[in-house]
Amino acid sequence: MNAHLPILIIVIPLVAGMLAPLLAFFSAPMARGVVLASALAVFAGSVAALLRVLEMGHPWSYYLAGWPPPWGIEYVIDPLSGVMVTLVSFFAVLALDFAGPYLAGRSAREKGAFYALFMLTAGGLLGMCATGDLFNLFVFLEICSLAAYALIAAGGRRSVVAALRYLIIGSVAACMYLLGIGYVYVMTGSLNMGDLTILLPPLLDSPAGILAVVLIATGLAIKTALFPLHGWLPDTYSYTPAPVLAFIAAITTKVSAYALYRIFYFVAETAGPVSATLEVLGWLAAAGILFGSLMAIAQRDFWRMLAYSSVGQVAYIVLGLAIGNSLALIGAVLHIISHAVVKGLLFFIAGSVKWQTGIRTIPEFIGMARHMPLTMGAFLVAAMSMIGLPPAIGFFSKWYLVLGAVEAGRWVFVAVLIISSLLTAVYFFRVIEFAYLKGKRPEDVPEAAVLPPKTGPELPARMLVPILVLSVGAVVLGILNEPLIQNVIQYALPWRLP
């Protein structure tokens, strides 16, 4: 059992997902129990796998059906993918828990469909993280994307259009990625990441190599929503149901960024076309950080503001990859964790505010602090982390990025990171001002629009728990970032640093 852990953490959610509709047909609570139990099992398994890898001191390879590479598919758990699967499965548990009240009152068939799609998304993402094969990565990318398209479409009339647009753009991205690894395959005759670390680097500096790198980078950049390829993101994030969105926003873009990191730094090496591509990605990321923050300031809709903020924040990760020294890479990996925690938290908050009060636009937040005190308290923590104020984790990921940029002498990137913090502060303080304003309201808002103080519990416990867990986590992870880096992230750096 234990020896098969790397494949179990992928198979369990896929099987549970496929069983869910069937189980829901008999009993919805049973389906829910099975799905939640399997998510918990996957989380436990991920943690166990991560701990075991850290103990072993070398990556844990698993050959599917016993076929060794390059014939069979290999799954690799190393500290980096271990962190990623832990993050994905943790958020799967939280989002499933949060989804409870959302699903109450839906028919058993709808519940079954939701659980099935959700677990397929989770399974696909876990597969993307754990696989050691480029083509397998494509397959899992499509599994998670397909399920995600369907989940997004469940948010009503507008979300259907958003989902269709995302589907078309996402499929183009997947096509480009597939064509890119096609070139890699033609050049080297292998798609196994371990093989390619030896085979690929000498061949990269050729027309085919350049095409491969550019195509892979473009495909994954679309999936990461890197400016200017972010077009699908704001619409998608604005109309998706909250539990799904918290999961998707927290995880999917980050997993694509992880794939970029894995391929460029672990499989290929940062020289020739890869470093040139990373340079371009770095400047795009810098532009994206500023663009995302500025667009977020311009939004009235809370959800859309968070969506544009995602465009900016995800670019931090790419910026870290582009700077490319060990401090910046630590920053990038830490930011994957930090932004997942905080953006997940923010969308949980946005979802529960909408669920409780029906409010989406920022000017309607007047009095929210007294109406939902704990939720808005968590929002303060999230805002601190997003702005990058200590001791929240967002500060520390930014600290390493800034430090890396200073070390590399990239002063423009330092300036971008700093300016972005300030712009982020602008749009978060706007929400805080509205939420904590009391008594005085702007002239154009009627008295009735001010929310009354809280009476009774502000949220069902199952929605409140994920919010509190994440907000406490954002601070605890911030204070304990050094042990995290020393014991885990340090080993998630590529073995050939430039």
Binding site: Y149, R157, L164, L167, I168, S171, G182
Partner: protein, 129 residues
């Protein structure tokens, strides 16, 4: 003249160019077409181009398919086309099919919700609500 073109197509890079053109047609369709259904069709064209790319890469002249009939023994490996891209593309075709299925389902929902598949018109009607 015509023979030269055919010979180039068969022995030179002709088919690679065609695949490239096919890919770009697909991409152009996705970017330039206003009709969502046409976009999905263009997406399919693009996927087919990528599939053809792999199959083309697997091809070697003077070889046969890597299928063993009963009683045959494995001969020289060089006598067979590379079976791996074919296997990969089987998966890719299934994926493309699934995407098309989901896309069609979504198209249906869009049409039911807005009564049109022209993207600008859909956006216009979204604004009105």
């Amino acid at each position: 003249m015509a023979e030269g073109v055919i010979a180039y197509y068969l022995t030179g890079y002709g088919n690679w160019w065609l695949i490239g053109i096919l890919l770009l047609i697909g991409l152009w369709g996705i970017v330039a077409q206003h009709n969502l259904l046409k976009k999905v069709m263009a997406l399919n064209v693009m996927q087919v181009a990528v599939i053809l790319y792999y199959l083309n890469a697997a091809q070697k002249s003077g070889t046969t398919l890597g299928v063993l009939r009963a009683g045959e023994k494995v001969g020289d490996v060089a006598a067979y086309v590379n079976p791996l891209p074919h296997a990969l593309m089987l998966t890719a075709i299934v994926v493309a099919l699934a995407i098309t299925g989901v896309a069609l389902a979504l198209l249906l929902k869009v049409y039911r919700a807005y009564g049109t598949l022209e993207e600008p018109e859909v956006f216009r009607r979204m604004q009105q609500q």
